[in-house]
Symmetry: C2
Subunit: 880 residues, 2 copies
C-alpha cells in the first residue's frame, strides 16, 4: 500500500513539476543555466518519446484536433522539406531578418509620420506664437506620457534600452518577462511614440531588445511545428544573432551591427555564431533598404546618411592631431555623459520628497521632462540658437554636409540652403550655434534617457558627437582657409569628415565600443576617413574606459543586475591573485550520511543557493552539489503531513487490517487535493519583475510553494527564509490547518514528537536533484583564469577542491570584490608571505601533499618506508 | 644520512627541472596548457621572490654586471615610467604595430624592387625574344629556388602560410620552433624572395605568422626589462592581437584584419582582446600608410587599391541576381580550389617515384613549378592572352578600374591606357582574355601555393575572384549597355564593382570567412557596394562550407595538426548525442593504494597521456589526474640504480659503520653526475619539428629522458613505448651499464630480485605532479556543450564522472569521431532506446541514484526505511 501511494504521489508531483517548469522558464531567477538546460533537455526528450526521429505529423495532430488540422499537416510538410533542404537555422534567420526589417521599416514610417504631423501643426499655426508654442510642447508631452503610461501598464520590462538586460540574459541569467509578446508590443508601441515625440532619444538599444524578443517569439512559434526550436543552448545562440539583427536593421549596418552587438553583449564570443549574425543582419538590412526603394523613397540601395566627401584626398596627414583631439575630448565627454546619466537617476531615487510625489503620479516626471526640453527647443524661442526645429535625422544630415559653413571665418558669406538654414542665425554665427547645441543637447539627452519609456541613448550621443566634430572641423576650416596641404593642389578642409569622426568617437566612448567606427562607415557609405575615425574611436575608448564604466554597465549596476566586471588593462596583479586568496573557506556542506536535523541546521546557518554534498565530514570528498530548494524539499517531504498521516494510518492498519483498499483510495484523493491545489495559485501568480528583487534572495518560490504541506518545525524555517515575501510563504497556513483537521488526529505535542523523531532519521538523497559535477577550481587558479572560466561558462559559483576534497567556494560576489578591489588597489588579501616558499617544481604543494598523505595513510594504516627520516614535512615533496 | 642525501638529490632535481622547463617552452607537445601555465606561473612567482612588488633596478643589475649597466638603469626607469603612465600592454602593442609596419613596408619595398628589376631586364632585352624569355624565366626560378633552399636550411617551419599553425597554437598547443628568431628571419627573407619572383603567391598568411613571431620575440625582449611579459595566458592574448596586426598591416585594413584573424584563428574569442587587436592593427596600418606618404609615394593616407566608383547610384536593385550568381559560383570555385590544392599535395606525396626523386633534390620541385608557370605567363608567348606581364598588384588595379572595357560589346572601341593595355589583344577580345586568365591562374595558384616556400593563397585567390567578377560585370555591361535602371537618369553598369564583389566572394569561400567583405572595403576605400558584397560573400560561404573545409583547415588536416572540427549548421543531432554515448568506458586508472607493479601494468596496457587517480577500485572516486610521464618517473625513481645503491650502501653501513661521512660525500657527487649528465644532452638535442611527429605519440621526451637511470625491468617498458624514436630511448644504455659497473656490485639476478621486491611496495605519490582538478563532465552533457567546453578551454581530454565516481573519459579523438560521424550521418552510436525512459523531473538518473545508494549504503551499513517497499528500482527516484 505504501508503494502504490508513493507512485500516485510521484505522478501528481510530476504533473506539478511540469507546470512549475513552465512558469519557471522566465520566472526563475537562475544563474546556473547549465543545470536548468540539462533538466529542460531531459524534459524535452521525455516529451519526444523514445524515438530519436522527429515526431510524425499524425502524432502532433493528437494535440491539435481543431479545424486547421489539414493546413497544419501541409505546413509541417513544407517546413520539413525546407529544413531538410536548407537547414532549420537558415529558415529561422531569414524569418527573423524579414520580420525585423518589416518592424523597423514600419516603425520608421510611423515615427516619420508623427514627426511630420508635429511639423505640420507647428507650421500651420505660424500666425500665433502662443498657439505654436502650445502645439510644439503639447504634442511631445502627450506622446511621451502615453508611451510611459502604456509601457507601465502593459509591461514595465520594456522601459529603457534593453541592452543591459540582453547582456545579462546572454550571460545565462533568466530574466522574467523580458522576452514575451506583451513586452514586445509594449516596446514597439512605446518606442514609436517616444521617438515620434522628437525628444533626443535613440532606438538602437530598444531595437536590440525588440529583435531578441522577436527571436524568442519566433522560436516559440516555430516550436509548434517541430521540437528542435526549444533547445536552451540554441536559443542563446539565436539571441546573440538577434542582437546583431537589431542593430543591423536599425542603421542598415550589418557589419557594424554584428560587431556592436558582440562588443556590447558578450564577454566571450563563439565564432560559429558570427556567421549567423552576419547572415541575419545582412538579410535584414537588405530588406529594410529594399522596402525604402519600393516605397520610392530612394532610387536604389544606399546608405542611410549618405555623404559625398571627395575621394582623392579625404584629409591631410597634418589634420590627424585635430582628429586625435576630437577623440580625447570625446572620451572625456562620454565619461561625463555616463556620469551625468547615473547621477540623475541616483538623484531622482534619493530625493525622497520628490520621489514620493513622482511615484504617486508616475506620469508626471516624463511629462515634466518633456515640457522642459521641448520648451527649450521651441524654434522661435531659445531653439533658434540650437537648430531646434530640426529632427534628429535632419540634424545628422546637415552635420554630415559636404560644404563648409564658416567660410573664411565669416558665416554670412555662405548661402544656407533648405534645412541647412536652421544652423544659421542672423545675430549669431555658426560656432555659437554649435556650442549651444552641444551643451544643451548634452544634458537634455542625459536627462531624457532617464524617462521611463523605451529608449536608447546611442543616437542622441551620436548627434552630439557629430556636432562636436563639426565644431572642430569648422574651426579648422576657419583656421586654415585653404587647407593645410602645401603642395600644388589646394585641398580645403572638409568639416563634414570631422563630424563623422566626432560622432563615432563620442558614441564609442559612451558605449565603450570600437565598432561605432564601422557603423559610421556603413551609415555614411564612405570609408575614406577610416584612419581618423579609428584613431579617434580608440583614443576616446581609452580615455572613457579609464574613467567610467560603459553606459550599459552603468545601467546594469544601477538596476542591480548580476554582472561580472571586466578585468582592467595591464593590471598584472590579476595574474598573481589566486583563488585561495579570495575563496570563502568556511562553508556549510551536506554530508552523505547526515540526518534531517543536520539539513535543518545547514539551512538555518547559511544562505547559499547551492550546497556542496561531501562524502563525509572527515574525508570532505566533494560528490556533487545540491540546491538549497532541494534540501528544503527533502526536509518538507520528510516532515509532510502526508507522511505523518501515512504512518498514522499504517499504525492503525496494523491494528485493524480490513479497511485497506477503501482507505488507500480515499487517501490518494486527499493527497492530490492537498498537494496540488494550494501549490497552483501560488505559482501562477505572476512574480515581481526580477529587477525589483534582491539577486541574492535566499529562498525562491519553489520552497515557498512546497512549504504549504510541511509541518510545524519547518514553518519557522521557511517563514524566516522567505522574509522578503512573507505573505506568500505563510499565507497557506489556514489551508494547512484545515487539511490537518481533515484527516489528522494527532495533537500538536504528538506532531512535534513525531517530527523530532523524523528529524533524527538519516537523509535519503535519492529523490533529490543532485548536480553530479559542479564546477571545480584548484586553489592555485589565478584570478585571471577564474574570471575567464566564470565568464566563459556563465558560472555563478565554483567549488574549490584539492585532490577531491572540498576546501572552499568562490562565488560571483567574491570574484567581483576581488576584481574591483584589485583595480582600485585595495581590498584584496594578497597571498600570505609564506606562499612563495611553496615548491614550484612539483605542482603539488605542501598542503596538497599533506592531504594526499592523510588520505593515503587512512587507506594504508601503516608507515611509508622513509617517513622516519629527518627530512620533515617541508622536504617531503621530493623524497628521493 | 638518508635525509641529507634526499635534500641534495632534490636540489639537483630542481636544477634539472629548471633546464627542462626552458627547453620545454616550445619543445613540449602539450595540449593541457592550463597545467603548464600553472606550473610556469608558480615558477615565476618563486623566481620573483616573496615580495609582491616588481624587482628593483638594483636587483636586476646583479644579473647584468656588464658595461651597459647605466644604460640599463636608464632604460628601466623610462620603461617603468611609461608602464605606470600608459600600461605595459599599450607599450607592447605600439611597439608591435611599429615593428610590423616597418617590416611590412620594407618588404613591400624590396618586393617592388625585385619586380621592377625583372621588368627592367625583360624590357631591356626586347631585341631578342629568346634572351627575353631566358631572363623572364630564370629570374623567378632563381628567386624561388633560393627562397626554398634558404627556408629549408634555416627553418623549415617557415614554409607555407602559417595561419594553420597559428590556429593550432592559439588553441593551446605548443608547436616547437614556430615562434623563434630563426623562423622569423627565414620567413621574412623567404617571403620577400618568393613574392619578388612574381609567382601567384600571397603574403597575408605569412604576415600573420610573421606578426606572431614578432610578438613572441618582442615579448621575450621586453621580459629582459621586467618579469610580467612571461605569463602564458598573456602571451596567447598578445598572439591573438598579433594575428590581427599581421593582416592589418599587410592590407592597411585594421578592421578587416582584426575580423579576419578572429575568424581564421579562433573558435571562441574574448571580447577583451578585441580592442587590443584593433589598437595594434590601427596603429600598424597607420604607420604603414604614413611611411608611404613620407616616401612620397602617396599624397596622403588612402586605401591601397583605391577605387572611384560613383557614389550616388552604385548599383541597381535588379543587378543583385548577378551578384548572387557571382557569390554562388565563387562558392563552388573556392571549394574546388581547396580540393585541387589538397589533391596536388596528396598526389605529390603519394607518387613514390617522383617523390623519391624530388626528395633527393629538394629544390627541383620549386624550380620546375616556377619554370612551368613563368613560361606560360611569358608576355610575348601565351602570356599575351592572359595579361601575363602585369604583376599581381597591377592586375588588381586594372581589374578594379572604373571604366567599362567592353563598351557596346565591341572591345576595340575602347582606348586602353597604360597598364590597362595588357588586357587588350588585337586578335581576341576582353572576355577571352579574362576567361583564359581565370582558368590559367586558377590551377597555377593552386599549384604554386604547394611550393615549399613561405607563401599564402589569399592574394592569388583574391585576384582570380576579381577577374571572375570583372568577367561577369563586363558581360552585364555588354548585355545592358545603358544600364538596367528604367527611370530618367541613365546609370551604366560599373564592372569594377563586380570585380570587387568577386574578389571578396572567392577569397571568402576559400578561407571560409565573411570578413573578406570588410577587407575589400578597406582595400578599395569604398563601401558603397556593401550589400552586394555581403550577399555574395555569404552565399559563397554557404556553398563552400557545405562542400569543403577551409583552406586552412585543409592544411591542418594534411599536416596532421591536432584540431577539433567545427559543429555543422543546423544539425540538431548534436543536441541529442550525449557524452555517455561517445565516451570510452573501459579506461585504466591508478588507485591511491596501488603498488608499483600496478603502475607498471597500467603503463603497459594503455597509451593514455593522462591517467585518472581514483580513491580505490571499489569507490572509483576521482581524486585527480596524473601524467603518464609522472607515473613513469615514479616507477623509474623506485627502481633507480641510486636507490639500489643506497640500499646496498645502507646494508653495508649497517654491517660496517665507520666510513659514514666519507662515502656519503662521494655518493652525492656520483648522484649528481649520474642523474644530471645523461639527461642534459638528450634534452638539449633539438627535437624534430612537431609536424613530423604523430600527435598521439604515447611517450614524449620526458620519460625517455628519465629512462636512462632506470633499471632492467623498466627498460623494456620504455623502449616499447618510445618505439617512434627508439634510438633516443635506449641509446643511453651503455652509459647506464658503465655507471652500474662503477658503483654496483649486485649481479643481474640480484638486481631483478631487488626490483621485484621494490615493485611490491606501495606507491608514494607525494613526489608526483598530480593535477588536483582535472576537467570533469557529466554523462548527460550534450555533444554540443562538450564541444563548446573543449574548444573554450582548449581541453585535450575530460573525465566523465557521476557523483564523484569516474565512469569514463572523453578525449579529442572521441569528440572528433562523434562530430565527423554526426555530420556525415554515420558512426555515431545513438543513445540506447531505454535512455529516454529516464526520469526527467529529477535530474538524478537511475544510474546516479543507484551509485549514490551504493555509496550511501556503504556508509550506513543498514537499510533505508522504505527500501523494503514494492516500488522497485525504477520508482526509487520519487520515493514518497
Amino acid at each position: 500500500s505504501g508503494g502504490s501511494g508513493g507512485t500516485m504521489a510521484s505522478e501528481s508531483e510530476a504533473q506539478r513539476a511540469l507546470q512549475y517548469e513552465q512558469t519557471l522558464m522566465y520566472g526563475r531567477y537562475t544563474q546556473d543555466l547549465g543545470t536548468f538546460a540539462k533538466d529542460e533537455a531531459a524534459r524535452l526528450r521525455l516529451q519526444e518519446g523514445d524515438t530519436p526521429q522527429p515526431r510524425h505529423p499524425s502524432e502532433l495532430l493528437e494535440y491539435t484536433q481543431g479545424r486547421c488540422a489539414p493546413c497544419r499537416v501541409c505546413a509541417l510538410q513544407c517546413q520539413r522539406f525546407l529544413i531538410s533542404k536548407v537547414g532549420e537555422d537558415w529558415v529561422f534567420l531569414i524569418l527573423l531578418g524579414l520580420v525585423m526589417a518589416l518592424v523597423s521599416w514600419a516603425m520608421d514610417f510611423a515615427i516619420a509620420t508623427c514627426l511630420q504631423a508635429q511639423k505640420w501643426m507647428y507650421g500651420g499655426l505660424d500666425t500665433n506664437v502662443l498657439l505654436q508654442y502650445m502645439a510644439w510642447v503639447t504634442y511631445p508631452t502627450v506622446l511621451i506620457t502615453f508611451s510611459a503610461g502604456f509601457t507601465q501598464i502593459l509591461a514595465p520590462q520594456a522601459v529603457g534600452s534593453g541592452i543591459p538586460e540582453m547582456k545579462t540574459i546572454l550571460r545565462g541569467v533568466v530574466l522574467k518577462e523580458y522576452l514575451t509578446l506583451k513586452t514586445f508590443v509594449a516596446k514597439v508601441i512605446g518606442l514609436t511614440c517616444a521617438l515620434g515625440s522628437g525628444m533626443p532619444l535613440g532606438k538602437e538599444g530598444p531595437f536590440v531588445h525588440i529583435a531578441s524578443m522577436c527571436a524568442a517569439l519566433l522560436s516559440r512559434f516555430l516550436s509548434l511545428f517541430g521540437g528542435f526550436y526549444e533547445n536552451e543552448a540554441r536559443n542563446i545562440e539565436m539571441l546573440a544573432a538577434a542582437c546583431a539583427v537589431g542593430v543591423g536593421c536599425c542603421f542598415a549596418a550589418p557589419i557594424g551591427g554584428v560587431l556592436f552587438s558582440i562588443e556590447v553583449t558578450s564577454t566571450f564570443f563563439a565564432v560559429r555564431n558570427y556567421w549567423r549574425g552576419f547572415f541575419a543582419a545582412t538579410f535584414s538590412a537588405f530588406i529594410f533598404r529594399v522596402l525604402a526603394v519600393w516605397n520610392k523613397d530612394e532610387e536604389t540601395i544606399t546608405a542611410l546618411f549618405k555623404t559625398r566627401f571627395r575621394l582623392d584626398f579625404p584629409f591631410d596627414l597634418q589634420e590627424l592631431p585635430a582628429f586625435a583631439v576630437i577623440g580625447i575630448a570625446s572620451g572625456f565627454g562620454g565619461a561625463l555623459f555616463v556620469y551625468l546619466n547615473r547621477k540623475i537617476v541616483q538623484f531622482m531615487r534619493r530625493q525622497k520628497t520628490i520621489n514620493r510625489f513622482l511615484m504617486k503620479k508616475r506620469l508626471l516626471f516624463p511629462a515634466l521632462v518633456t515640457l522642459v526640453i521641448s520648451t527649450l527647443t521651441f524654434p522661435p524661442g531659445f531653439g533658434q540658437f540650437m537648430a531646434g526645429q530640426l529632427t534628429q535625422k535632419d540634424t545628422l544630415v546637415t552635420l554630415f554636409d559636404n560644404q563648409t559653413w564658416a567660410k573664411q571665418g565669416i558665416s554670412d558669406e555662405f548661402e544656407y540652403l533648405g534645412i541647412l538654414e536652421a544652423w544659421h542665425h542672423p545675430r549669431s554665427n555658426v560656432f555659437v550655434t554649435l556650442v549651444v547645441f552641444i551643451l544643451m543637447k548634452f544634458w537634455m539627452s542625459a536627462l531624457a534617457t532617464t524617462i521611463p519609456v523605451p529608449c536608447g541613448a546611442f543616437m542622441p550621443v551620436f548627434v552630439i558627437g557629430a556636432a562636436f566634430g563639426r565644431l572642430v572641423g569648422e574651426s579648422m576650416a576657419a583656421w586654415f582657409p585653404d587647407g593645410i596641404h602645401t603642395d600644388s593642389n589646394i585641398y580645403r578642409i572638409v568639416p563634414g569628415g570631422y563630424a563623422v569622426v566626432g560622432a563615432a568617437a563620442l558614441s564609442g566612448a559612451v558605449t565603450h565600443t570600437v565598432s561605432t567606427a564601422v557603423i559610421v562607415f556603413e551609415l555614411t557609405g564612405q570609408i575614406s576617413h577610416i584612419l581618423p575615425v579609428m584613431i579617434a574611436v580608440i583614443l576616446a575608448n581609452a580615455v572613457a574606459q579609464s574613467l567610467q564604466p560603459s553606459l550599459y554597465d552603468s545601467i546594469i549596476r544601477i538596476k542591480k543586475l548580476p554582472y561580472l566586471p571586466e578585468l582592467g588593462w595591464g593590471h598584472h596583479e590579476k595574474y598573481n591573485v589566486r583563488v585561495e586568496d579570495i575563496m570563502v573557506r568556511d562553508i556549510r556542506y551536506v554530508t552523505l550520511n547526515c540526518k534531517y536535523r543536520d539539513l535543518q541546521q545547514v539551512l538555518h546557518s547559511t544562505k547559499m543557493k547551492n550546497l556542496p554534498l561531501v562524502e563525509s565530514a572527515e574525508s570532505m570528498i566533494l560528490l556533487g552539489s545540491i540546491e538549497r530548494t532541494q534540501v528544503g524539499a527533502l526536509l518538507s517531504s520528510q516532515l509532510s503531513p502526508q507522511r505523518r498521516l501515512l504512518t498514522l494510518r499504517q499504525k492503525v492498519l496494523s491494528e485493524d487490517g480490513h479497511r485497506l483498499s477503501d482507505s488507500s483510495i480515499r487517501f490518494q484523493i486527499s493527497t492530490e487535493t492537498s498537494s496540488g491545489t494550494p501549490a497552483r495559485p501560488a505559482l501562477r501568480k505572476p512574480l515581481k519583475p526580477a529587477l525589483k528583487r534582491v539577486p541574492s534572495s535566499p529562498a525562491d518560490s519553489p520552497p515557498v510553494g512546497s512549504a504549504d504541506h510541511t509541518g510545524i518545525a519547518l514553518k519557522s524555517l521557511f517563514c524566516a527564509n522567505a522574509a522578503t515575501e512573507p505573505t506568500e510563504g505563510c499565507s497557506n497556513t489556514p489551508l494547512l490547518q484545515e487539511e490537518m483537521i481533515l484527516g489528522d488526529k494527532m495533537t500538536p505535542a504528538e506532531i512535534l514528537e513525531w517530527e523530532e523523531q523524523q528529524l533524527d532519521q538519516l537523509v535519503d538523497f535519492s529523490s533529490a536533484k543532485i548536480d553530479p559535477a559542479p564546477f571545480q577550481l584548484v586553489e592555485h587558479t589565478s584570478l585571471h583564469k577564474t574570471h575567464t572560466i566564470f565568464s566563459l561558462l556563465g558560472l555563478d559559483h565554483a567549488f574549490v577542491t584539492s585532490i577531491g576534497r572540498l576546501v572552499g567556494m568562490v562565488s560571483l560576489k567574491e570574484l567581483r570584490k576581488a576584481i574591483e578591489g584589485s583595480l582600485t588597489g585595495k581590498g584584496v588579501k594578497v597571498r600570505p608571505p609564506l606562499a612563495s616558499f611553496r615548491d614550484s617544481t612539483a605542482s603539488t604543494t605542501e598542503a596538497d601533499t599533506t592531504a594526499l598523505r592523510q588520505l593515503w595513510d587512512r587507506h594504508q594504516h601503516h608507515h611509508m618506508p622513509r617517513e622516519a627520516g629527518p627530512g620533515g614535512d617541508d622536504d617531503d615533496d621530493t623524497p628521493k
